[in-house]
Symmetry: D2
């Protein structure tokens, strides 16, 4: 089969190669999935540059995100049959319960082979059924960004009536916005572009803040919350946002730490102590979380926001478009 | 009455003054407590130097920690009567539920008048009954250090069979050790002094680590936990400990952030993200937490560890002894 | 003032009397509220008949539910001032944390004087601020039915994507329906009247079941949930419903027990054991729960469903209309 | 191999037969365990009489409880190797998360073949590693009684300082006592025999009540708790105990419902509503709970209480001794 591989850590153009690989065969307990769509995450661009802990296996088939149909199952597989519509969990071996080192070392498209191929082989425990009302393109957006946002909101224990702050309009933030509304929360969204904020309002954002116009955006969050601060922020890690996030969240509130630029001069965590805040390191989630999320998505027929779809042969173009940060929601590759 | 006041932020010797103040009278809903003992916390020395957010009222009667007997009650007081044995909550106005700005601004001996006086006046909601089996000296150790350790272990949701890491043998860490055993956990204690570690073992520590002998003490924690890491650390904020704490705690584990030196070069919080850890800013606790803790202390007849008792007239000496860090457990002042 | 009192336990017509009482005066820590509207609950009719544990004080001003404006405050009151729009908590003395005997004995309009009067006196801790967008008529519906439904859904820990079963269209069930949608859940409603089911669908019900047409209504719940059963039922206690509720809820699910007819032949609880279900006795809620609920109601501008409004002079008529069970949502009395 | 089978539902003497069965062979993902010890539970005697929902497969190898060594593994098994010391989970297919119908139908020795045989075959997900410090006889006591008690205490969210009530000195109650102490709780134990209460005190019981001397034993529980009531009771289902349990538990407390005689005249659940209590149906637990419990047992080197050990050939005698209710703790069969 014609797959993609990351063969070095020299950045996208050198690192990502088209390769011929043998079609995978299922061992006992394994499943072959015919991939119909993939999606991209910021982490996938980092992986091409190396230095990402536990995500530097070489060579490796890239991408955590993919959805498709079961093509074949190995001996002893009881949960899946050919034709089932599935996606795989970001950490292949995090089934349920607390995260551990084994789970951390099993991230698709970094620690182990990922999803940017016509066929992939996975243990049966790594798969989830995708909601009926979603296309493969839509379902391919879920494994990394949606599960991360879901885990963040549930780890922060968001309750109806609380306020959730979303930074920007990337994949995690847009799912965070949709889920915040599903949880009965009030949503505040920041962006430097008014047209992106318009889209956020269309998705249910209660307050929007253009941080280009309002560099002291944490003050705008305080204003929007009667001076109290947001209950929860999904801190996706823009440059220098953590300092302001800590000020935008109320005493006792939660900062879900999702991304963080490796800064030469990291911000002090001292304010979190002085305000009794929680900083929750969120690293995607388990198969159990994915299933719980899918149930909610199906019940409310929530529609993931697909920004643009590239054909499989243009995967490198998709990476480049993604890196340009013009998107709202997810960038998808269709096979 | 002869009380103490912090009258400036010039450090202990200038800041702490003996003063004559009128005896307090109870207004409606207020209680007069005759103080019988106090105890000291690291925060109390910081307050004398100024710069501690929300704790820089001047002049202010110092110390959060005190225990004594109700001397008189004002109109409308229903919960207390003369002779009741009580202590006050660190944050006078944090009764229950989530912390807020009002609570944060009401810390005894910093934001509002504290307990280093023969008599203090407090709203009835600020008091807790002290366990019957404790002397006033013992009960005076509870408000800051014990409630902090209790809040940390409950916020981190410590369960039987988990491992809790305590840094050093100061007040919070020793209560953390005693409570960790009460919660059915395994306790690991660090110190640079073998005699302090001996005392910790006497209090139930399962593993002890001399970090003078073993500067890479986080590795010793990993060894003591089968390579996995502790489930929870009470990070009381020694110089440069946070980096190692993040490595000593397992993926998905919790760092209860209790103290933190204001470092010129703060450590990055990035590792917490990469290991899906929680960093929980712990700022003492509510009256409700104090009562719940007291119930457990009473049920198990837990004895606070009093290192040394100074007479009221030698309060300044008590501060100096405390600053020398020779103690294990709590330094107390008796009236 | 012209108030109402329950003066015996001989049923509505004998029990409920119009009486002249002196205008209440505020003691220290107390607040006088000028009542503008009340609402009725099934419990209020039970109280007139006696035999309701901890609710048999005589004479007693009836009704737990009322909303109005602060008219005057006593000495030492800091949280309220004249003109504040407030309601009181069903259990006057359940402020926060676990329920206790003191709380249970303080139910308005049963254990202690209630709200069916022009003016009432209450301790300042018993009051909550009502949401700005609600009229007094709407706000008067909240204390018993809405807080009960809120407590039930939070005690059962309802999550987005779960299914909540509501029995009938009384006050608790209609709030349960509105809150279930707010929590991101799927709602199933039963009734014997199609026009009531139509109203439920208008409020967001995802599935409706006419149990007159379908006496085996628990089977209809199983069909609506893919054979699994609802996650949670609000069991408001119709005759013989508990047996079916236990069958309509999935293994591991929750039965929030809100009302229960005193049956000569009570159903066995054994099925709950065999299906690992939780039966949660729900008895309204605390001031803290009321405030949290109000925050969510305000954030989403949720509108309570008022079925009909009676003038204060016709309070007895309001009771009779309520007992006829023609209503959907709440029956209100306006002053 | 020489195994036992339940071949009818005619009670122990007819139902339990010695049979020759072929040695089991491992399929993909399966493990063969050589059983070294078993233990008995009340449910095992019920199964011989039939009528136990989802536990009436015929013929069936009896007993949920067994411990031994892995003898062989099938293709694709990665977690286990020959020689590993293991036990199996009561519900073979309840790995983690909420219980479901599939889990409920997989109970060893009732729904599917159990452990009273020299060799058994199980899917790899059904096994747990047994603590190093336990003999096989001790480890064989864990799967049903210990996991049930653990699940009950964690479902009821027992906290240090709370009071747990244990009814009698059977397997679940004795584990409940040991775990209650591990959780930092105060333990109250009832029995009709003083020598059994002596043993309970030796295991840490803080209060004991002889209900033969004190038929109104719920009043003794109230006395032991300052009039408040226990926080949690493990209701193992003696005749008529539930009525008293509901009175022995505080308002807002929890009744963990573990066993319940099928009574002609079941008690009303109404008191649970009037006291805002939770009745939690506890049906053993998941593999995840079993592992968490084992970690705590290992950390604290807790020793299960073995009352008496019978040889494998005398399994029927073991059943009879068990039914006589002379035991304190567990009745074991050694191979």
């Amino acid at each position: 089969m014609k797959a993609y591989q990351i063969t070095s850590h020299d950045g996208l153009d050198q690192a990502l190669q088209r390769v011929d690989l043998p079609d995978p065969q299922p061992g006992p307990g394994e499943v072959i999935v015919g991939i119909r769509a993939n999606s991209l995450n910021y982490r996938d661009t980092l992986v091409t540059m190396g230095g990402y802990p536990r995500n530097d296996t070489l060579p490796v088939i890239p991408l955590s995100d993919g959805a498709g149909e079961v093509a074949a199952v190995g001996e002893g597989v009881t949960r899946w049959k050919a034709g089932d519509r599935v996606a795989a969990n970001f950490m292949r071996d995090w089934v349920a319960g607390p995260i551990d080192e084994t789970a951390l070392r099993s991230s698709l498209g970094g620690g182990v082979d990922g999803m940017l191929a016509p066929y992939v082989v996975l243990p049966e425990h790594a798969l989830v059924r995708i909601p009926d009302h979603l296309s493969f393109e839509q379902a391919a957006t879920l494994p990394c960004a949606a599960v991360t946002a879901w885990n963040a909101l549930t780890a922060a224990d968001v309750k109806p009536g609380q306020t959730v702050l979303l930074l920007g309009t990337g994949g995690v933030s847009i799912f965070g916005l949709q889920f915040a509304k599903l949880f009965g929360a009030t949503a505040v969204v920041t962006s430097s572009r008014d047209e992106k904020l318009d889209k956020a309002r269309g998705l249910g954002a209660d307050h929007t803040i253009n941080y280009a116009d309002r560099p002291e955006w944490h003050e705008a969050v305080l204003e929007a919350t009667g001076g109290v601060g947001a209950d929860v922020v999904l801190e996706v890690g823009g440059n220098g946002t953590l300092e302001r996030s800590l000020q935008a969240v109320r005493p006792g509130g939660a900062i879900a730490l999702i991304g963080l630029l490796a800064q030469a001069d990291p911000p002090s965590i001292l304010p979190a102590l002085l305000n009794a805040q929680r900083v929750l390191g969120i690293y995607v989630g388990s198969v159990a979380m994915f299933n719980t999320m899918n149930r909610a998505i199906a019940a409310r027929r929530l529609e993931p926001v697909v920004d643009r779809v590239f054909p499989y042969d243009d995967a490198v173009e998709a990476y480049r478009y993604f890196a340009s940060q013009k998107h709202v929601g997810k960038v998808v590759i269709a096979h």
